[in-house]
Symmetry: C2
Subunit: 344 residues, 2 copies
Amino acid sequence: MKFEVVTIKDIAKALNLSTSTVSRALRGSYEISPETKKLVLEYAERMNYRPNPIALSLKEQRSRAIGVVVSEIANNFFSQAIAGIESIAYNRGYHVIITQSHESKERELVNIQHLVSRSVDGLLISLSSETSDLSYLQQLYEKGFPVVLFDRISNQIDTHKVTADNYMGAFHATEHLIYQGFKRIAHITSSTHLSITRERLQGYKDALAKHHIAVNENLIKYCNHGGMMIDEVEVAVEDLFRPKIKPDAIFTAGDRLSTICLGIIKQKQGAIRKAGFIGFTNTNLADLFSPPVSVVRQPAFEIGQSATELLTSMIESKRPVTTFETKVLPTNLIIRESSLQQQD
Amino acid sequence: MKFEVVTIKDIAKALNLSTSTVSRALRGSYEISPETKKLVLEYAERMNYRPNPIALSLKEQRSRAIGVVVSEIANNFFSQAIAGIESIAYNRGYHVIITQSHESKERELVNIQHLVSRSVDGLLISLSSETSDLSYLQQLYEKGFPVVLFDRISNQIDTHKVTADNYMGAFHATEHLIYQGFKRIAHITSSTHLSITRERLQGYKDALAKHHIAVNENLIKYCNHGGMMIDEVEVAVEDLFRPKIKPDAIFTAGDRLSTICLGIIKQKQGAIRKAGFIGFTNTNLADLFSPPVSVVRQPAFEIGQSATELLTSMIESKRPVTTFETKVLPTNLIIRESSLQQQD
DNA sequence: ATGAAAGCGCTAACAC
DNA sequence: GTGTTAGCGCTTTCAT
């Protein structure tokens, strides 16, 4: 069952022209006489003709659509990044198709394959926390398929990349805690497969080192599902606070991790409540928390925009692109109550 | 530039068969000899053959994909609903294409047209707050195109619909405030174009009526952009608290509206702080707020699931579907501190 | 059991 | 300036 859409053929028949003439008239070819052109255009308008993008994709092997793969749209960072992606894509004439990997490498692969076979013209990817083997993506990129990595990137692939300055973001957050007088700063982060994990971890460690605080591996907890499983975070927090000597501050490395961790802390009350807290998150609600929460905020919208600009320029480039850039955008340290030393 | 994908033609050539034989072998037709079948299947496997979905869509006028149009994915209700949609769609073999209207009726229309012309097999729509004229959608539905409305529905179209019980949700929220002793309960809501606005408003009014409290139109504020524009909400809150006699409680009718409103209240301090508060929102962070915020929570995931089940059954139905159901799922009133009467 | 050919909607090289 | 034709990848009728 099809929904009676007008095709070029219908117009041609109605106007006693050939399909090619109609096609040419529609796209304003100079070879067509003004009268015919007018005739066709008006009729098409009247019949509400719309070119069939599927036929176009099949013919031209392109779709004027770009595919996006993120782990989770219910994540402030990603929904803001997607807004940035759409803002650029739409006024360059691209549609945006959003898919989620839910931090699963299989799902990520399925999504990528589906998007590619649907002839998206390029891909914007933030890797799942499970992904360590990028060979599939690598093959794609070697065949010249335009891919831009953002947020969670990888050096296994040589292409354009856009991320926040995770290292400095973590460094400044940690240093801020140190300046506040915290001594035993815990770090809760996700899988070390992720570039963002490694960068933030390094920033944390280097800040400690700068201030002559020894890194204590017991104060670093890895939640490999990045907050997708609450239990994992709960165990991490419990582990952190079980020993006699407890951390006096927590620094979390991700959106979900931060909010889940705050929830657990709130629930557990007691000693934990008193620890300082700062986390990477793009929530707009941090102000509303009790206490208001200090955060490292990423320029999510701008990251989305920048990645999309690079992608569309790759797509539209005549010659294969061979030199790539990695854009690193500064993060924003927003200090609220949660990371201040309490005077009691 | 295409990415060297194997086509049926390639296989046919390599195996000295016709494309039709290969096609049939691939789909396991009984007319093909076991040997040929085996040969083809193995070769296809080896070459990593994947049918081209675009060609299939063009041929079959269907795509095994469903389109989703929501106002904003950066909204807890919608991202949860989308998770529900995906959970059903994927194991019925459908892909999900997500688009956002950003509460703009033009954008909504563009998205719908794009999805339809891309041959999605059906549409899951939550209307934008600007949408009042559904004639385009109506045409679609009259041609037999499967559409299911969810959350923000309309009686202009006779099809399957799934929503939360907005009326009762609002009724109970309001009644709860009344039981707490609040007398001047304000209601901040969005455009009356939206079904959810009207239903929640009615629930609010009826609860007041039941308890013999006169409805005061000055206590009802309409933010036509549903919280997309902060200013609008700010003006509403200011209007509410400018008069000498101020409201003693606020009941907000939407996700964004609720959180923005809380932000404004927090910022303004003073008298407003003391008002009771409850709002429709699906945020998981309400517990973390100060004070913890009472909410009306919608079964977003289940709404998404249910809508998708109805849609796929419509898509797969042999005969045109003529009787439709409207599913109404109960909301969940979660009482925390913000809506309790303070004893001071 | 297999092949040839048409057709889904569109464009473009090649006539005339 | 306009028409004819082939082809994008696939399925399917119709021959054989």
